[in-house]
């Protein structure tokens, strides 16, 4: 169980980091989102993986750790605020520069494909 859980976090991190290193705003935002999933799962698991131990008093015999859950709950909401803010920054960049390159320089790449070969889908 632990191994699979750890691999999941690893996959989320790896995918997130790869997208974080891309040159366009949209993949970077997606990468950040993936990364924050990974981080949330990681923080959550500091209370260990407990089955059937929801921290509702009286519902079960032993409870999972409620503190990481409370922390992650707010982290999810704040993460949403962060994503929204970055999305808007990206849109503003698009509006001001007519371009979505993260480095703020004019890009020479074409935005619309003329030839399907240019894009490996």
């Amino acid at each position: 169980m632990e191994l699979v859980y750890a691999l999941t976090i690893g996959a989320l991190t790896a995918s997130g980091v790869y997208l974080l290193l891309r040159a366009r705003t949209f993949p970077v935002i997606v990468g950040l989102t993936l990364l924050s999933y990974g981080v949330n799962l990681f923080l959550f698991s500091t209370g260990r993986l407990v089955t059937g131990g929801q921290p509702i008093l009286g519902s079960t015999d032993s409870y999972s750790d409620p503190l990481p859950q409370a922390l992650v709950l707010t982290a999810i909401v704040i993460g949403f605020a962060m994503t929204a803010f970055v999305v808007v920054l990206a849109l503003r960049k698009q509006a001001d520069h007519h371009d979505d390159h993260v480095d703020g320089r004019e890009s020479s790449a074409r935005l619309l494909p003329e030839d399907e070969e240019d894009y490996d889908r």
């Binding site: 169980m1 632990e2 191994l3 859980y5 999941t8 690893g10 989320l12 991190t13 790896a14 980091v17 891309r22 040159a23 705003t25 949209f26 993949p27 970077v28 997606v30 989102t33 993936l34 999933y37 990974g38 990681f42 959550f44 698991s45 500091t46 260990r48 993986l49 089955t51 929801q54 921290p55 509702i56 008093l57 999972s64 409620p66 503190l67 859950q69 409370a70 709950l73 707010t74 999810i76 909401v77 704040i78 949403f80 605020a81 994503t83 803010f85 808007v88 920054l89 849109l91 503003r92 698009q94 509006a95 993260v102 480095d103 790449a109 074409r110 935005l111 494909p113 490996d120 889908r121």
Partner: protein, 933 residues
């Protein structure tokens, strides 16, 4: 109390003095002298105790955790310096009254002067080394402002900058040195440091601590090779030069050496570093002084030379030499301050300081000339004046230095040579200025005697020169003894302060210096010609060049690191995270801890595989943005399931609703953006990124695995135990959020609100036209708001609102609460916007979401502050129970109001962000939402 008051008074004076500026120069001068007078009166009662070797220490805690305390110490040494600072300070105040012109910014001048006085007193009275450093830096800063007092002059600004760079740099070195000493001793209190002398000198860090402390002292006291800042600081108004650059600031470095003399001196390193630096400074300063045509330039280099002399005396390491050094500190302060003042008078009355133009002033100002000549004779070391006595002691000490073989001759030779130069430049000061023909082309002609009171400070100082010179034992003996006793930790050698010690070698050296100097001055033209053959180094230009090069270097480095490329930053960030985590992971060794692995069930395995595949798929297919988004949403849903699987129902509900809102948001963003990402990176670049990503992913896997299999202990027992009894709820997660850690939550919803308002502001006046189609030649569908969606969405709204209310109310006991209910309401409202368009919805729900955010924060804050009314701390909650039909029994806690605040803020923030996005397009009312959403 007394000592801290003595230090504080000048600062208070600095605040008060400018208020008197309107009342004229006399008024402000009188006001400015109050702190010094009060301080002198306050210190007077301690004289008897101190003269007997007593020490007064007064301590207040400031930051005990780092060893910094407000502790002040008065002993003979600090008294000597405090008196110099206070008395000469008073004379300067009087002098400056006549020196400054009425139209100048007198208030600023006196305020800065008083600040400086306070800082200087702080240095000499501090008993805590860190506290002393604070004042030390303060003197550097204030002297910068004083040197650049005439800030319209370029030279003044440059000179000030140079002084700040050199002394400030030295201050940094001193800080490091003091920290090292503190580390060795374990305390920054002077008493402890002085008591630990043997420990310090035997410690492995001693050479470093010594070098760093000396760097601080040498820069401040203008020792070679840092001496160049002092001559350039002569751009300051003359009262500043007379005060800072003869009597006080440049003596701070000397003071430091004297203060730490018992703790640091007496080793070979000390001897070589201090004495050779002193010797070089002594000789170079004296030599250059002879060739300066600027009156103040001559005095400045002479000061450098005399500071070198004092340093050399301290470097010699004998106790008698230390006494001689302290004696010369007093003498030099007296005659040099008076000479600077005389130079200022001459500058004031003739309009120039160029000695090639000011000649024969004896005829015009005999009174000033007499005073200046006496002081200059003292500087030259003429008998019956104070300069002679300490110089005589210096000669004697240079002879007594026991160096092997040939080296034994070096110190006396250098001392005599420097003496010859000193006589020569003093002779020049006297002869060139007051005799030697007639003035040449003076800006102010004919010069007059200055105002009567301007001469009084000079007269007092010259009188002191004579008194100390003729009756040293009576006039200065006790003070010198007290200072020497404090410096040498009570172990004062026998010495005699007398006019003559009989005919001996030192006296012969004095004669040699005197006649040699006169001879040298009479042959000065030859020396001038000789000196003229060398190209003069313009230290200012060199300094500027070095400073410029450093700046270029720094900006090159910065530009290299900060290239403006986000991709590069992101890469460096990830790489440094990997680098930081690398060692600990390596040290961990075993990744499966004591608890081992637990078995996995098939549904969970399937879920994990789907999650992993979708995550990798998102990265792999990112170029087709829409597809990537769909996969991302699957990942988000699987994460929600993972939360549910591992006993976190609240998290699962939050994740689910956030997921919906996030995907809607990204979908809307994608509408305005290209649907495809072009290929830009080459294959090697992509392989590099894949490698980085894999390393990061594997690292996270290993860390997680290691953590999950370790046994652990949690502080959550407390929350589980007190949730019901203290917070009145059985849903512990919710009780933590709104009660135990309510203050955190308040902070978090504030962040949420700020983010939403930021989004609103960023998009407020922005318009963005969406691309006409999906990038493959397909136009958007004409059917903007599908009928089916519209028809289903509308009846959904009241239903969703009711569910959210239910979730909200039960949140304290069952999974739910403000965050989740807020998100559900948001989703329900967003659905209306998507289904029917912004205008349609806006017309029916006329709510300004800014107000909702504000109201939410207000509720949360009021709920928290409400507990004040009952005398409890912020956010203390109270609760009771109510039973409603259907909902059942639920408790009404004051935390519920807080949760209502959370609820409203979440709704406001989410909808403000999404509606701002929706309004972005010029024709938002009729826009087509992409993908049939």
């Amino acid at each position: 109390m007394t000592l801290s008051l003595v230090v504080l008074l000048p600062f208070l004076g600095a605040i008060a003095a400018p208020l008197f500026a309107q009342a004229g120069r006399t008024a402000i001068a009188i006001a400015s002298s109050v702190p010094a007078l009060v301080a002198l009166m306050a210190l007077f009662p301690y004289w008897k105790r101190l003269s007997e070797g007593g020490v007064l220490v007064q301590t207040y805690d400031w930051m005990p955790s780092i060893g910094l305390s407000l502790s002040f110490r008065l002993d003979g040494l600090s008294l000597l310096f405090a008196l110099l600072i206070l008395v000469i300070g008073l004379l300067i105040i009087l002098y400056a009254r006549y020196y400054l012109k009425p139209q100048e910014n007198v208030g600023k001048f006196y305020a800065l002067l008083l600040c400086f006085k306070g800082a200087m007193l702080g240095i000499v009275l501090s008993s805590n080394l860190l506290l002393m450093l604070v004042f030390w830096e303060l003197t550097s800063l204030v002297s910068f402002l004083l040197i650049s007092f005439w800030n319209h002059k370029k030279d003044a600004r440059r000179g000030a900058r140079m002084a700040l760079a050199v002394t400030g740099g030295g201050g940094l070195a001193l800080l490091a040195g003091i920290l090292l000493i503190g580390r060795i001793v374990g305390s920054y209190e002077l008493d402890d440091v002085l008591a630990a002398a043997d420990l310090i000198k035997a410690h492995a860090l001693y050479p470093f601590a010594l070098t760093l402390v000396l760097l601080g002292a040498f820069t401040k006291s203008a020792q070679f090779p840092f001496h160049f800042w002092l001559p350039h600081a002569m751009q300051a108004p003359t009262p500043v030069s007379a005060y800072l650059h003869s009597a006080t600031m440049v003596k701070a470095g000397i003071f430091l050496m004297a203060r730490l003399y018992p703790a640091l001196a007496g080793t070979e390193q000390w001897f070589y570093m201090v004495s050779f630096t002193g010797m070089a400074t002594l000789l170079i300063g004296a030599y250059v002084a002879l060739f300066k045509h600027d009156l103040k330039g001559l005095l400045a280099h002479s000061t450098v030379s005399h500071l070198g002399l004092i340093t050399l005396l301290f470097g010699m390491g004998t106790r008698l030499a230390a006494v001689a050094a302290l004696f010369h500190v007093i003498n030099h302060a007296i005659f040099k301050a008076s000479l600077f003042m005389a130079a200022g008078i001459i500058d004031h009355e003739t309009g120039t300081r160029d000695m090639r133009r000011i000649n024969g002033l004896w005829r015009f100002m005999p009174h000033t000339a007499t005073l200046a000549m006496v002081a200059a004779s003292s500087m030259a070391g003429v008998p019956l004046l104070n300069g002679f006595l300490s110089k005589e002691m210096f000669f004697a000490e240079s002879l007594a230095l026991n160096l092997p073989g040939f080296w034994a001759y070096v110190p006396p030779l250098i001392a005599t040579l420097a003496g010859i130069f000193a006589v020569a430049y003093s002779a020049r000061f006297i002869h060139d200025v007051f005799f030697n023909g007639k003035p040449v082309d003076l800006p102010i002609y004919p010069p007059h005697e200055p105002p009567r009171y301007m001469k009084i400070p000079v007269e007092i100082l010259v009188f002191a020169c004579i008194m100390v010179g003729m009756f040293p034992a009576i006039s200065i003996g006790p003070l010198l003894y007290a200072a020497a006793s404090a410096t040498l930790a009570g172990d004062v050698p026998d010495y005699q302060l007398a006019l003559m010690h009989g005919f001996n070698l030192p006296l012969l050296m004095s004669f040699l210096a005197f006649f040699g100097g006169l001879l040298m001055y009479s042959q000065r033209q030859r020396f001038f010609d000789f000196h003229a053959r060398f190209k003069e180094i313009d230290e200012k230009a060199v300094f500027e060049k070095v400073a410029m090069r450093m700046e270029d270097l720094a900006s090159t480095f910065t530009n290299k690191l900060e290239s403006g490329s986000l991709q590069r930053y992101a890469m460096l960030l990830v790489l440094s995270a990997i680098a930081v985590a690398w060692r600990p992971i390596e040290e961990l060794g075993v990744f499966i801890g004591a608890n081992g692995l637990s078995p996995i069930d098939v549904p969970t395995l399937i879920g994990a595989v789907v999650l992993i595949l979708c995550a990798i798929g998102t990265a792999a297919m990112h170029r087709s943005r829409f597809d990537a988004l769909i996969l991302l949403s699957v990942v988000g849903l699987m994460v929600a399931l993972a939360f549910a699987r591992f006993s976190a129902p609240d998290l699962a509900m939050t994740q689910l609703s956030v997921e919906v809102v996030t995907i809607v948001l990204l979908m809307m963003a994608l509408y305005y953006m290209p649907s495809w990402t072009p290929i830009e990176a080459s294959w090697p670049r992509r392989l590099r990124d894949i490698a980085i990503a894999l390393v990061a992913g594997i690292g996270m896997t290993l860390i997680t695995l290691a953590m999950l299999t370790q046994p652990f202990e949690s502080i959550s027992g407390y929350f589980l135990e007190h949730s019901k009894s203290g917070g009145g709820g059985t849903n512990v997660v919710n009780v933590i959020l709104v009660d135990f850690r309510g203050f955190d939550t308040l902070g978090e919803i504030t962040v949420l609100a700020i983010a939403a308002l930021g989004i609103y502001t960023l998009l407020k006046n922005t318009q963005l036209a969406p691309p006409p189609g999906d990038g493959h030649g397909h136009p958007w569908t004409r059917d903007a708001y599908p009928v089916m969606l519209r028809q289903i969405a509308r009846p959904m709204l009241p239903l969703a609102l009711m569910i959210s209310l239910y979730i909200f109310l039960r949140g304290h006991n069952m999974p739910g609460g403000g965050f989740i209910a807020g998100l559900i309401t948001s989703v329900a409202l967003v659905l209306q916007y998507i289904a029917s368009g912004i205008q349609w919805t806006q017309a029916r729900i006329p709510i300004r979401y800014h107000n909702v955010i504000g109201l939410g924060l207000l509720f949360a804050a009021v709920a928290g502050a409400g507990s004040y009314a009952f005398g409890y701390p912020f956010l203390t909650s109270t609760f009771g129970y109510i039973t409603w039909p259907v909902v059942g029994k639920f408790e009404v806690a004051s935390a519920l109001v807080f949760d209502l605040g959370v609820y409203l803020t979440v709704i406001g923030a989410t909808l403000l962000a999404l509606v701002s996005l929706g309004n972005l397009s010029p024709h938002s009312a009729t826009t087509h939402i992409k993908g049939g959403l």
